[in-house]
């Protein structure tokens, strides 16, 4: 996530090209060691325990370390130690730039100060951004009065990173009453405060998500491709409902809907969260307590 956010800024400033950013991301993936592997290598957990946690991640919307603590395999202190061993995501990004002879960290730090000033981020916000932790990064991109949307937006982002593209990039979200789109999918989750999550696309923007999640090479955003997007939303909403049930808030999923021929999405109030996924920009639409219509 941070690689895309900062990398796109470097591209906008003409410091690197998009092809070079792809190389940087590949370099980071190549050298960044997963937490589970470190934990096994350090003898803190067994391979079997690591595999079990990886399976649970798909249905628990929690980080590896969090699940390990819940299951009693690791203590919080051990997780902190593992994170320390894994390394700082911002430094990994800086290291990758240096390894590829694109930029020294001193130059990157100078450019980050410009980024901070342009976005009016505090030093604390920049530390949040550099942490690459969804819970800390997402609030930076949401309106200040969007606190109640944070849970759902977090589940969307984490699930997308796990199931579709590890380098999903959020952009500045905003509230609106309509979003014009050619196609999309949505699902209502009923409860005391009904929630709707929708993915809106124009043209073929939703195609990479459909193909990646559906594990099928769709050629265009048709009903079969949107069915795959709807199924992803179903998984996302299930994880959200699971989080809510831990707070004793029961929610019930309705059958998802999708269409390849619409004018847009309409609501009394919806959060519009632009996301860059696999090189395409889509909009995630979230309503809480308001209805959402796709027509």
């Amino acid at each position: 996530m941070i690689s895309k956010i900062l990398g796109n800024y470097l591209i906008s400033k003409g410091k690197i090209t998009s092809e070079q950013l792809d190389d940087v991301i590949e370099e980071i993936t190549r050298v960044r060691v997963k937490l589970g592997l470190i934990a096994v290598a350090e003898g803190m957990i067994t391979q079997e325990q690591a595999d079990k946690i990886n399976r649970l991640q798909a249905v628990m919307d929690k980080r590896f370390g969090d699940i390990a603590v819940i299951k009693g395999y690791l203590t919080e202190k051990q997780v902190d130690e593992l994170l320390r061993l894994q390394g700082n995501p911002y430094l990994a990004f800086a290291q990758a730039l240096e390894n590829l002879n694109l930029m020294k960290i001193t130059e990157l730090d100078d450019i980050m100060r410009e980024y901070q000033a342009e976005n009016e981020f505090t030093n604390s916000s920049m530390e949040d951004l550099k942490s690459d932790d969804v819970d800390r990064v997402l609030p930076l991109f949401l309106p200040t009065d969007a606190a109640e949307y944070l849970d759902m937006a977090g589940v969307v982002l984490r699930t997308m990173m796990r199931c579709v593209d590890n380098n999903v990039m959020p952009m500045k979200a905003y509230f609106d009453k309509q979003y014009l789109a050619d196609n999309g999918a949505m699902q209502l989750v009923e409860g005391e405060r009904p929630v709707t999550c929708a993915f809106a696309g124009n043209g073929q923007a939703l195609l990479p998500i459909a193909s990646c999640f559906g594990r099928e090479a769709f050629e265009k955003v048709d009903e079969d491709a949107l069915d795959a997007v709807a199924e992803l939303i179903n998984c996302i909403n299930g994880l959200y409902a699971s989080d809510m049930s831990q707070q004793r808030i029961e929610m019930e999923l309705c059958p998802p809907e999708f269409s390849d021929s619409i004018s847009g999405f309409y609501s009394g109030k919806m959060l519009v969260l632009p996301l860059e996924v696999c090189g395409e920009t889509i909009r995630v639409l979230i309503t809480i307590g308001d209805s959402l219509e796709m027509r």
């Binding site: 249905v59 099928e216 199924e231 299930g238 699971s242």
Partner: protein, 119 residues
């Protein structure tokens, strides 16, 4: 190896499950897109096991399970659900579901559960 009927309104979900089950060597007897269709196909095909998505239009998986169990009290039915549907899962147990599989599918988990029932 068994004969399995898949009931799910999502084409993607049916395809993913079919690939896992066929990979295990099972035969897919048929696929239905809602509970009503699933019940009719169950009576026609008499599969060894039926998978029922809980959330479907027209007739959901719980209602289909009730009808199938009424038709055949020994029917083996595995409920498919997104996470966080605890109330529905409790209902399904009450109506005789054999097991649960949570989406997104984990191949190992699906294989383990199906093998437990059919082997």
């Amino acid at each position: 190896m068994g004969k399995i009927l898949i009931v799910d309104d999502s084409r993607t979900s049916r395809k993913m499950l079919r690939e896992i089950l066929e990979g295990m060597g099972h035969e897919i007897a048929g696929e239905a897109t809602n509970g009503e269709e699933g019940y009719v196909m169950y009576k026609e095909l008499n599969p060894d096991l039926v998978t029922l998505d809980i959330t479907m239009p027209k007739m959901d998986g719980i209602e289909a399970l009730m009808l199938i169990k009424k038709y055949n009290e020994n029917a083996e039915a595995v409920m498919i659900t997104a996470a966080g549907q605890k109330e529905k899962m409790i209902q399904a147990v009450r109506y005789g579901a054999s097991e649960f599989i949570t989406k997104p599918y984990e191949s190992d988990e699906v294989e383990r559960i199906i093998a437990q029932i059919l082997d």
